[in-house]
């Protein structure tokens, strides 16, 4: 027997028990709002590859950011980062806690927001 799972139609029928006039599009919008909030919890773990670029320090992770195949990352929280070694294997690299680096990289800071 398959696992119980709801579709939008199922949710709408539950909602219409109490709100018979609930608009389909409005309910879909509310469901999407709820899904965005659900994104705070680690219920969907994804992986993505991005290309390292010479002399680029900053890599975009915003809502519109894409992986190297052009897929949207839709990233909420980075858990682990791996870097390719000289044999083509991905090796986990540590997260730096003291981020007060002396040397910065002005050429790739276009990824950061500049004043309008």
């Amino acid at each position: 027997m398959s696992v119980h799972s709801l579709t939008v139609k199922n949710i709408l029928s539950r909602i219409r028990q109490v709100f018979p006039d609930a608009q389909e599009n409005y309910v879909i919008n509310l469901i999407n709002d709820a899904l965005v909030e659900m994104g705070y919890y680690s219920n969907k773990i994804a992986h993505a590859k991005i290309s390292a670029v010479a002399n680029q320090m900053w890599y975009d992770l915003s809502d519109g950011a894409e992986d190297s195949s052009g897929n949207k990352l839709e990233l909420n929280k980075v858990k682990r980062v791996y870097l390719m070694d000289n044999e083509g294997d991905y090796i986990q690299i540590p997260r730096l806690t003291d981020t007060n680096l002396l040397l910065t990289d002005i050429t790739s800071e276009s990824a950061l927001e500049a004043p309008d």
Binding site: L6, T7, V8, K9, I11, L12, I15, V18, F19, A22, L30, I31, D33, A34, L35, E37, M38, G39, Y40, Y41, S42, N43, K44, I45, A46, H47, A48, K49, S51, A52, A54, N55, Q56, M57, W58, Y59, L61, A65, E74, L75, N76, K77, V78, K79, R80, V81, Y82, L83, M84, D85, N86, G88, Q92, I93, P94, R95, L96, L102, L103, D105
Partner: protein
């Protein structure tokens, strides 16, 4: 194309600044530990371009729904919470729209009840479903031979 860095775990680090991942290394483009800069400038941007050179594991946002036939892109323990969220919002709308103060109060109370239920489900399921690890744990000892 592989990178020139032999031991990324020793020569590269990452951190997050807002919406940006920062990658820095202390090696040059040939993968050798940089000697051209003094200690205080050791860590700098990666010096070589590597296609698919970075792999990330992350919490991703669930896919949105756009039609009535769509399934939710979340674990099914969260689904009841979604229903509670929608009811919470609809009761809040009703409370704001109705001209009857008593009905408005009732709708507001129902909205708060569904809000509590939504929070309870999302927090409880969020904690439980953080991972699906179970069973006894084993510590793998060092090989002493």
């Amino acid at each position: 194309m592989a990178s020139n860095i032999t031991y990324p775990d020793k020569h590269a680090v990452w951190f997050i600044e807002g919406n940006n991942l920062c990658l820095v290394t202390n090696t040059d483009s040939s993968g050798n530990t940089s000697t051209t800069t003094s200690g205080r400038k050791t860590w700098k941007a990666i010096q070589e371009s590597v296609t698919d050179g970075v792999l990330m594991y992350y919490n991703a946002e669930p896919n949105k729904v756009s039609s009535i036939e769509d399934s939710l892109d979340i674990d099914n323990v969260f689904e009841k919470g979604i229903v509670e969220y929608v009811k919470k919002c609809l009761y809040m709308d009703r409370a704001g729209k109705t001209p009857d103060a008593n009905l408005s109060q009732v709708a507001l109370a129902m909205s708060q009840m569904h809000d509590r239920s939504w929070k309870e489900i999302s927090v409880k399921a969020g904690m439980q479903k953080r991972d699906k690890t179970g069973g006894t744990r084993v510590i793998k000892p060092f090989n002493m031979t």
